[in-house]
């Protein structure tokens, strides 16, 4: 990796040009630029060599500087405050946790920011909490009504997804330019209500298309400032991948089933007469069976997640920017399995460690490639900031996995 910068001078910072004090001979950057440059901007080519016809591309790594120890303290203190305030502080805790992740994510030396107003999130929490209480009460008094509550809630989900994506994107900021989401409410209803409704009638064959539609709704409607993200993904790729994974899954499940059946009968044969030993062996065997099944299901989930994330980023372009994502299903599976084990054995105390670890892996596998630069984006005018109607309803920020 070359760190050659055009206009480099011995005694000055190669970026901002300020004098360098007390740095070794290897250093060419002043302190504030050092943070910006380390590992991020890697010019593939020296700009002075690039002719007008040669595309001059730069690859920016995304760097994640969060640390598990630091985040643990933030998380545990905020959790404690949430509990002693009977959940009211949860909105502030959520904003702080999010901000920790955003502000530790660096692209070209600048951080992302999450600007949501905790009071808005508190309103959202109260509404969602009210819904949960209504559900719990109907559950107690009449299961028939609680089924109706679930039905009404599922009619409400596309609206929540739509609001949540708008809220989340508008409050995500990089270089003082907000992201935005321009998807329509009707598309959300098609994607999050119509397609899942069609699953049984199409014998599940619509599943890959549904997965595609969700990604298209997100990636195809994202924008940064006024620059809209173009999503070139095709349903055919989803069908091909799902078909491949299905064949693999079915064959492995058959294999696991055969091994389990054979193993169980072998144990019964071997230990006939020793009921205690037999029962113990059967339990141990069943435990191993569930472990194998859990690992396998996790592998499939993470493999699909990795493929989908990689595919969607690669098929996206934001103005002159394109993306590279190099997640591996096996690595994600290992992270997930060890995270679950760590969380279980630490009684939840390793939740922050697990979150930091997974986020680091995902972000550090994402790269931004451009033949222009990151200075060219225009901020969108934000008329909705003054419009009370929009602001008062945009307070949902559900966790929607990208």
């Amino acid at each position: 990796m070359s760190r050659e910068e055009p206009g480099f001078q011995d005694d000055k910072c190669s970026i901002c040009g300020s004098e360098i004090d007390a740095h070794g001979s290897e250093e060419r950057l002043c302190r504030k630029c050092e943070r910006e440059v380390t590992g991020e901007a890697n010019p593939d080519q020296d700009e002075s060599v690039a002719g007008p016809y040669i595309a001059d591309t730069r690859t920016y790594d995304i760097r994640f500087t969060g640390s598990a120890g630091e985040f643990f303290r933030i998380w545990i203190v905020n959790t404690f405050l949430t509990i002693i305030t009977l959940g009211i502080y949860a909105a502030w805790a959520k904003v702080r946790n999010r901000q920790y992740f955003y502000r530790n994510t660096l692209l070209d030396g600048h951080v992302f920011d999450y600007t949501a107003n905790p009071v808005a999130i508190l309103k959202g929490n109260l509404i969602v909490g009210g819904g949960a209480v209504i559900y719990a009460m109907t559950e107690v008094f009449n299961p028939l009504y609680s089924a109706m509550v679930v039905l009404v809630f599922s009619l409400f989900i596309p609206f929540l997804v739509y609001k949540s994506l708008r809220f989340m994107s508008r409050n995500s900021v990089y270089r003082n330019v907000s992201f935005g989401f321009r998807g329509s409410l009707s598309d959300s209803y098609v994607t999050y209500l119509l397609y899942p409704f069609l699953i049984p009638f199409t014998l599940g064959l619509i599943m890959p298309y549904w997965a595609y539609a969700k990604k298209k709704y997100f990636f195809g409607n994202m924008q940064f400032g006024t620059t809209e993200n173009k999503f070139r993904g095709k349903p055919g790729s989803f069908y091909a991948k799902y078909a491949q994974v299905s064949v693999f899954t079915v064959s492995v499940l058959i294999l696991i089933g055969v091994v389990t059946f054979a193993g169980k009968s072998a144990i019964s044969e071997l230990f006939t007469g020793y009921t205690g030993v037999q029962n113990g062996m059967v339990l141990l065997f069943m435990f191993m069976f569930y472990m194998a099944l859990f690992m396998f299901v996790t592998l499939i989930q993470q493999y699909i997640y990795a493929w989908m994330t990689n595919y969607c980023f690669i098929q996206s372009s934001l103005g002159s920017l394109s993306f590279q994502s190099t997640l591996k299903g096996k690595s994600l599976m290992w992270i997930r399995v060890t995270n679950v084990a760590a969380i279980l054995f630490s009684l939840g105390l390793l939740i922050p460690w697990a979150q930091i670890r997974r986020t680091r892996y995902i972000l550090e596998n994402l790269k931004v490639v451009t033949d222009g630069n990151l200075d060219e984006f225009q901020a969108a005018s934000r008329p909705e900031e003054g419009a009370l109607g929009e602001a008062s309803t945009d307070f949902f920020d559900l966790e929607i996995g990208l």
Binding site: C16, G17, S18, K32, R35, T65, G66, E70, F71, R73, I74, I76, V77, N78, T79, F80, L81, T82, I83, I84, W92, R96, Q99, Y100, R103, N104, H110, V111, D113, A132, A136, E139, V140, N142, P143, L144, Y174, R175, N176, V177, G225, Q278, N279, L283, R336, N339, V340, I343, L344, L347, G348, L349, I351, A354, L374, D375, E376, F377, Q378, A379
Partner: protein
Amino acid sequence: MIRFDANYFDGKTSISRTVIFTLYGKKAEIRGVDTGFVFTVPLVDCEISPAIGNTPRLIRLPGGAMCEAVDLDAVAALEELKGEQKILRLVHFIEGRWKAALVSIAGIIIFAWFFVVFGIPAIAEKAAFAVSADILNEVSNQTLEVLENRFLKPSELDQSRIDKLRRDFEEVLADVCRDEQCRVEFRKSPVVGPNAFALPSGLIIVTDELVEASENERELIGILLHEAAHIKERHGLRGIIQNTGVFIMVSVFVGDVASITSIAASLPTLLAQAGYSREFEREADEYAVRYFHQKGWDTESYREILVRITEKMTRYPGDSLLSSHPITEERVEDILKLEEALAGG
């Protein structure tokens, strides 16, 4: 004087400019390093976003521009001078300390324990007794309908035996259920096995299997009293409310219901719920023992049928690890202890 380097973003484009931020009295000067622009803004109009960890600080200027600074000490000094956001600054200070993390862990454990052991049961009791009899009846009828369809068949006991049992049972129930409308029904249920259960409306269902497993009528009266206590204390309803409460509390702690962490969350939830149900069983046993004591009966028959039921219920080999044997043993011990205490006192 406070002075630090910053990256300046005008809020209209994503262009990054290096600036020097200098505070002169109550005004902040922003001076471009290589672009030569300079302007001043009043400090009171600058909005310093709360500090998180060791991340760069963001200062929003009037007019939509923003400065990003990595000189954390300088921005902290600026913040101090401005004197706002006192609570979040305190939170940030606390977040930086390991001792505070330890205190938080202890605080969470104490608070969660207190809430699970005292808070939730107290709220659930209030809520359960606020429910009207009409609603209890409706809930019970619906539950009964489901049970009748799936697990219960008409009783195959002799009609004369049913009549006799019902007369004797109703005598006991008239004694204990003063405000509630307790009544008994008999059903055959190979699925449920030797057992009895109470619906919130006051209906107690006794299975043929239980009657057949009993050796004398007093054993059955013990079980009947146990179920009557569940009805009088509204244990069924309280149990549902308590379990919901624990679920909500654990969800708040873990933060989200939908991800891996829900696996970790299910264990403490199950433990708390098991604790509640054991507590209700203990209360119901106590009620039965007190009645026996009042009548001058000893509890041997009640203890024996508890043990016998438990033995008959463990049919599957896998059950031996998860069976309720130890719980029954504990219950029997508690019954003996209470009986001795009542006899002594």
